[in-house]
Symmetry: C2
Subunit: 130 residues, 2 copies
């Protein structure tokens, strides 16, 4: 069942130079860390479910997120090349954000997670949650 995935991981291990493999591990780790931050997947999902670009205030209202946090998330995403930021020199100012192709190729994984979550429950009785 998960043989294919294990094979794929081991294929990565064997075919890639150790340095490259390290980098991939690290990228995945960093990616998950970034997505683990406050409102990160909420932002991601918002982008995933809409073809339209989003403006700061709209995101802020939609997610009910503090501006400082949202600002940090958007900056990180942009720095990681996951979203594009378009600023228009207007008055009042207008800035729009939209997902890059790079992050769009990540959506299937998120979709898989949703599918998984619909089949299984995460018992969070112990832990803290949102």
């Amino acid at each position: 069942m998960d043989e294919t995935i294990r094979e794929r991981i081991e294929w990565l291990r064997e075919t890639l130079a150790p340095v490259e493999h390290e980098e991939i591990e690290e990228t995945v780790t960093t990616l998950i860390e970034v997505f683990g931050r406050a409102y990160a997947i909420d932002v991601l999902r918002t982008f995933a479910l809409s073809n339209e670009p989003w403006r700061f205030s709209d995101l802020e209202a939609e997610l009910d997120a503090p501006p400082s946090t949202l600002s940090a998330r958007l900056a990180e995403f942009e720095a990681a090349g996951l979203i594009d930021r378009h600023a228009y020199g207007e008055m009042p100012p207008r800035v729009e954000y939209e997902p890059t192709e790079k992050v769009r190729e990540l959506f299937p994984a998120v979709g898989y997670l949703h599918w998984w979550a619909s089949r299984h429950d995460l018992d969070t009785s112990d832990g803290r949650k949102a």
Copy 2:
């Protein structure tokens, strides 16, 4: 390209009761938060790449992780039903951990992340990393 995933998500949105949908969102969020914690994916990957159960000290040595942190991670994983813990009443004590079927069904997503990472880079020039 990602149409299938968007359709799947929207299918989830439409067919599920709002409450269920909320729960799924929350589960995914919590899951990513848990995986974003220290040594979490390292533990996960260690399990993914081995069919054998792991003992506490072996994991500790393998990952070079502080016992308190590793202990927390394992407890969270077990509470979430992602790993099974088997304690044997021996002397000296022996405890073994192994992934559940539930978490094995999560591995493909991690594998997809690896594939993604092998194609794209995450620009972390701005951010902090490990």
